[in-house]
């Protein structure tokens, strides 16, 4: 029997990470901005049916960048996890923190054990009763989890977007201001004009009773942000 080639663990992880990064870099980006009314999620997405942003539970939403089939599976797993937990215990026992941990564990073990890593980067966000209680978690292809404050970006241009938002982001900005900032950031990162029809936007609305996730239609976006067409 032929012996398999020896590949050092460092090399193997490096190769996998490079493969995953390349896959994610091909895709479009998503921004999360915590503001006055809640947490706004803005994705560049020309498709109106294949969503990148989704409701998970009362206060929790999900956004996925990278390979659609892979983050769609993660999205569904998140909804199943949340609904089972909420049914077994109570609605307020479903938290973004435990969901983000579950994602981190699963994605991390796929990264270390499977030949092919997931080419995804995801956000798990939870709107709090006050802006200080908002939570934004970013989980990478290797399961690394980051607890972000105020803003986060994932996808192809994530680094450029983070750099842009680092200077421009302010706390407690109203919805229209947040949307304009997100659009400007996307335009700066791609050097292209963003059209309202190519945006997928949703908010976790702090003051909405019950389920707080709400999507915006294209006409909603145009009336919210003056420069959008």
């Amino acid at each position: 029997m032929a012996l398999p080639f020896y590949v050092s663990p460092e090399q193997m992880m490096q190769d996998k990470a490079e493969y995953a990064r390349k896959g994610i870099a091909k895709g479009k980006s998503i921004i999360a901005l915590a503001g006055k009314e809640g947490i706004l999620l803005v994705a560049e997405n020309p498709s109106s049916s294949l969503n990148k942003i989704s409701e998970i539970y009362d206060r929790i939403a999900f956004a996925g960048a990278g390979k659609y089939s892979e983050f769609e599976n993660l999205r569904k797993a998140g909804i199943r996890y949340a609904d089972m937990k909420g049914y077994a215990y109570g609605r307020e026992d479903v938290t973004a923190k435990s969901l983000a941990n579950a994602y981190s564990q699963s994605i991390g073990s796929i990264f270390s054990q499977e030949i092919k890593p997931l080419e995804v980067e995801i956000l798990v966000v939870e709107v709090g009763e006050t802006a200080a209680q908002d939570e934004v978690y970013r989980i990478s292809f290797d399961g690394a989890i980051a607890d972000e404050r105020g803003y986060a970006a994932i996808g192809g241009q994530a680094d450029e977007l983070r750099l842009y938002l680092k200077d421009k982001y302010e706390e407690a900005v109203a919805l229209d201001g947040s949307l304009e900032l997100a659009v400007k950031a996307l335009e700066a990162s791609t050097n292209q004009k963003v059209r309202a029809a190519n945006l997928e936007v949703a908010i976790l609305d702090r003051d909405h009773p019950g389920r707080k996730f709400r999507r915006f239609t294209t006409p909603d976006l145009v009336s919210l942000a003056g420069d959008l067409e």
């Binding site: 049916s49 969503n51 989704s54 409701e55 998970i56 599976n73 993660l74 569904k76 797993a77 909804i79 199943r80 996890y81 609904d83 089972m84 909420g86 049914y87 077994a88 579950a102 994602y103 564990q105 699963s106 796929i110 389920r211």
Partner: protein
């Protein structure tokens, strides 16, 4: 466990059956006869009727255990989602469980698929859940729901009634079930008008519950001492709305005054 892809469907009940079966009541193999069952709290009268803009759904607030009052404040009418509601008569425990499971089922489907189930789809799903309960019904744990929804595609309110086997029947105008259901139906038969406005439909609903409470010992009338009044909700194209307690109290008050004078 978290990324378990063995179940790929959009049904919460099937998901639970595969992953957490202990959360679903499975007492099929108990083989008790209804006489062996200890006395259990039973929810009594619930009803629904159509009007010009949609459907009113209502129920009294009492659960009765034999000749005792088990609780005076039980809820038997539940919001199922933004455009539908379910009211359940029968043994209180399984009724509450069914309502909660049905709510989760609709929400779960909506989140996974990105669209609400059709009104007929919701009605059929509920029928399957009632059918699952049939072995328990044979042992005395009867659960009988009324389902109402506003069908946005056809722009009309819908009422569905069920039997213990999961039989699903659409009603054209009104329905009532539970121990006082017959009396409530008798009242609605006389005063029901399909072209009633919201106030008229709410009046009819409360009138009918009042009559049910008058005739049936299991059903409670308005309780002015404790401030407990029937649950009333409206389901229209604008969604589901709770009719405030104050408004229900005022209608109850006027019924009591009207009937007192006539004696």
């Amino acid at each position: 466990m978290f990324l378990d892809l063995s179940y790929g469907g959009s049904s919460f009940c099937e998901l639970l059956a595969g992953r957490l079966p202990s959360l679903l009541s499975r007492w099929d193999n108990l083989r008790l006869s209804p006489e062996d069952m200890p006395p259990l709290p039973k929810g009594t009268t619930v009803l629904a009727l159509k009007y010009r803009e949609g459907v009113v759904i209502a129920g009294d607030r009492q659960a009765t255990e034999g000749t005792q009052i088990a609780t005076r404040r039980i809820e038997k009418v539940f919001k199922a989602d933004q455009h539908s509601a379910v009211a359940i008569a029968g043994v209180a425990g399984p009724c509450l469980e069914l309502a909660r499971l049905f709510q989760t089922e609709l929400e779960h489907y909506e989140k996974l698929e990105g669209v609400e189930l059709s009104t007929e789809g919701k009605a059929n799903k509920l029928a399957q859940m009632v059918k699952m309960n049939f072995p328990m019904a044979l042992q005395g744990l009867v659960v009988i729901p009324i389902f109402v929804g506003y069908d946005l595609k056809r722009d009309e309110g819908k009422i569905y009634k069920y039997d213990v086997t999961g039989g699903r029947f659409e009603e054209a105008d009104y329905h009532a079930t539970g121990s006082g259901g017959g009396h409530a139906r008798a009242t609605m038969k006389k005063v029901y008008r399909a072209d009633a406005d919201e106030a008229g439909a709410i009046q009819t609903a409360i009138d009918s519950l009042f009559d049910a409470a008058d005739e049936d010992i299991g059903t409670a009338g308005p309780d002015f001492v404790r401030g407990i009044f029937p649950t009333v909700k409206t389901v229209t194209s604008r969604g589901i709305v709770d009719v405030e307690d104050e408004r229900v109290r005022a209608v109850c008050q006027s019924i009591v005054e009207g009937r007192s004078r006539s004696h």
